[in-house]
């Protein structure tokens, strides 16, 4: 699995940070989400389904997302 | 082979719309247009078409817009108060370029007015009733036979120019019975469809005629429709160049087609010194008055407009070239006369009006003709 973030779509509401059970995500100095700690990610998908901005997506490693910008 | 029948204007207009391929009607009961709903309710299922009585006038035009987007030719009919209610979505159909026909069987207004009496006071509302700038097509038949022809034409123009088209009937023509011979076959125009594959289709990218090809919902061509200003893909935009381009095109597609859209008839206009300009129900006593005047040796002529919008200015200027006086009878306080004033010397114009819910008597038009000719008082 891979955790993909499209920072261009992120509006920095922080919902994903709030609901991540393992503290993987954080907001950067301009208030956008970034992956702070990928090793803790359990790929539960809570960030993806709660993101209002279509900025987070979990994919199989084999899936092509065409989204890039994977910080 | 055509069949002679005795029918009302509303009925003939319905037959014209059906002959042109209209297979969807949504409406709400209102006098004096209810025959449209009743006939469509009976005829549509027999033809595999659809009729729906909606909860109000606004819902009716909304459903008609939806049906047209799904690829079915669609019409709604109403009268004054309902026409007022439909104005917002007429504007929607204009900006979203949805081919629909709206029939307005005019009665006397404002408001509930005189529901069973004729009027012609929605002429300017038809031009300017919904907010914003746009080109308009409105046709006004003057007989039962013309009501059929205009039913066909209105559906064809809507398809050809991808826009709402208004049929301005009035209670006189709508409820009058005449013997008519309906043709077995009529010329039918269908909207032009996309020529390329879905990937390259832009739903609002016009051809040289300023009309974009249209794809039906469900045909594999996916696109967005909005009442917001939009670019060629249909996606909203607030850019000033996109705005100018779209608003201009809503006018120029009508301007470019003016010769095709313009319909009128003339009676003795070649040498007319007294020109009567009329339309719809008023044109009938006007024609009688002009014939009577000719018997009296007055060089009177009649220009009967069928196309009201876009206003046939060139036709008027030509017919008025020898006119010393121009008499404009209308069943309103003076509406189309203000448009006529834009193109001919206003000192020549005599506005003749009835605002009492009654049709003109021929003498009420003949007398001003005789006065203009310097004859009997």
């Amino acid at each position: 699995m891979a955790l993909n973030i499209n920072v261009k779509l992120c509006k920095g509401c922080g919902i994903c940070v709030e609901y991540c059970p393992t503290n993987v995500l954080a907001l950067d100095e301009i208030g956008k989400v970034y992956i702070k700690n990928i090793s803790e990610c359990i790929y539960c998908g809570r960030c993806e389904i709660r993101c209002p901005d279509f900025a987070i997506m979990l994919t199989d490693d084999t899936e092509k997302t065409g989204r890039g910008d994977n910080k | 082979m055509s069949k002679a029948r005795l029918m009302q204007g509303n009925e003939a207009c319905t037959e014209g719309l059906i002959a042109a391929g209209v297979r969807f009607y949504a409406g709400y009961p209102i006098t004096p247009s209810t025959e449209f709903a009743e006939i469509f309710a009976e005829r549509m299922p027999k033809l595999g078409g659809k009729f729906i009585q909606m909860e109000d006038e606004i819902a009716s035009i909304g459903a008609v817009c939806g049906a047209s987007l799904a690829g079915v030719k669609a019409v709604t009919a109403t009268s004054g108060p309902g026409f007022s209610l439909k104005q917002e979505l007429i504007g929607y159909a204009a900006i979203a370029e949805i081919p629909i026909v709206i029939v307005n069987v005019q009665r006397l207004g404002p408001s509930t007015g005189q529901p069973t009496s004729p009027g012609q006071a929605d002429v300017m509302q038809t031009r300017w009733g919904s907010h914003g700038d746009r080109g308009v097509i409105a046709l006004s038949p003057g007989s039962v036979e013309e009501s059929f022809e205009i039913g066909v034409k209105a559906a064809n123009f809507a398809e050809k120019y991808r826009m709402p088209v208004v049929i301005l009937l009035d209670e006189v023509i709508g409820h009058m019975r005449e013997r008519v011979e309906l043709p077995e076959q009529v010329e039918i125009v269908d909207r032009k469809g996309p020529t390329g594959p879905p990937e390259t289709f832009k739903a609002f990218c016009p051809d040289d005629d300023d009309v974009p090809p249209m794809a039906s919902f469900g045909s594999g061509y996916r696109y967005h429709v909005t009442g917001l200003i939009h670019g060629e893909t249909g996606m909203p935009s607030s850019a000033s160049d996109v705005t100018t381009k779209l608003i201009s095109r809503l006018h120029t597609k009508v301007d470019k087609a003016k010769a095709d859209i313009t319909m009128y008839t003339e009676l003795y206009t070649e040498d007319a010194e007294i020109l009567v300009v009329s339309y719809g129900g008023s044109s009938r006593p006007a024609a009688h008055a002009v014939k009577e005047a000719r018997k009296m040796g007055i060089k009177a002529g009649l220009l009967k407009l069928i196309t009201i919008w876009p206003f046939p200015d060139e036709v008027l200027i030509k017919a008025a070239k020898n006119a010393k006086k121009i008499i404009v009878p209308e069943m309103n306080y003076g509406q189309l006369v203000t448009e006529i004033e834009r193109y001919v010397d206003r000192d020549k114009i005599v506005s003749v009006n009835r605002i009492d819910g009654e049709l003109f008597l021929p003498d009420e038009i003949l007398n001003p003709i005789r006065e203009a000719a310097g004859g009997a008082k």
């Binding site: 922080g14 919902i15 899936e63 | 729906i52 109000d56 459903a63 817009c65 690829g71 979203a96 967005h224």
Partner: protein, 272 residues
């Protein structure tokens, strides 16, 4: 879930909604429900009205139409009746559906026409900056209720049920998976389906009502919702002020376009 990506018009994103707005969450639940139901992308139409909610159609790659304020259901009725093969999903808001479009809402329900209506219910007119809607709760503040709302709000599911809808559910942006399933079941229902999707407007509603962040509003949704199964074990007193969520109503009734097709058969058969 990359399988839902194809339903988005990526060039139209980012969307216009404010940070933390729940509309994107409800929209992504719709997309997942469509994916779950395996609808044909070329045979699915999304119709919306006007308001924050109704901008949603812009971001979806189907035949989409952003209509006029309150009128989405009228267009949708025309589309569905003209071509019953199409799956028609209606996106609307609490004001769009139950104030200016209230008449269309009850009549679409009465006809039981096969439309799936998802109401993005944020309790407020967001696009115009936070005026009261028919769903604004009593005592809450809005720009047009500066001393507190004293009009009673609609119970939207109750309105839908009374009007004849055959599938009625309520979900929230917090309960995202449940919401997806409720929308999917609405699509599955052959008739008029209503999903009242409670969503957060932190900017135009929350800030005035002591729920300053999206997270606070989601927490409010969590704390004030009771699943319908659980509600059956609770007393009316315990249920006071709570939102019951889940599948609230399901019934069988003839669907409008199917009835019309029967009529065509009957009339055409009779004329032979």
């Amino acid at each position: 879930m990359a399988s839902t990506e194809k339903y988005l018009r990526k060039t139209a994103l980012p969307h216009i909604w404010c940070p933390g707005c729940g509309n994107g969450v409800v929209l992504s639940a719709i997309v997942r429900a469509i994916d779950k139901m395996g609808l044909d992308q070329n045979k699915t139409v999304v119709v919306s009205g006007i308001g924050c909610s109704s901008r949603a159609s812009t971001y979806l790659d189907f035949n989409t139409i952003h209509t006029a304020h309150g009128r989405a259901l009228t267009f949708a009725t025309g589309i569905k009746l003209a071509n019953p093969e199409l799956n028609v999903i209606v996106i609307t808001g609490d004001g769009d559906a139950t104030a200016i479009g209230g008449n269309h809402f009850i009549h679409a329900a009465r006809r039981n026409i096969d439309l799936t209506t998802v109401i993005f219910n944020n309790s407020i007119y967001g696009m115009t900056g936070g005026q009261s809607s028919p769903a604004t709760p009593i005592n809450s503040l809005s720009t047009t209720a500066p001393y507190g709302q004293f009009e009673r709000p609609f119970d939207i599911p109750a309105l839908a049920i009374a009007s004849g809808a055959t599938y009625v559910a309520r979900g929230t942006a917090f309960h995202t998976e449940m919401l997806t399933n409720l929308i999917a079941k609405g699509i599955e229902n052959k008739g008029f389906s209503v999903i009242d999707a409670i969503t957060q407007c932190p900017i135009a509603y929350g800030r005035r009502n002591k729920l300053r962040t999206a997270s606070a509003m989601l927490k409010w949704q969590q704390d004030n919702s009771v699943r319908i199964e659980d509600s059956k074990k609770m007393s009316p007193k315990d249920l006071e002020g709570k939102m019951i969520i889940g599948e609230l109503y399901k019934s069988e009734a003839p669907e409008y376009t199917a009835l019309y097709d029967d009529l065509i058969k009957r009339v055409q058969g009779g004329s032979k």
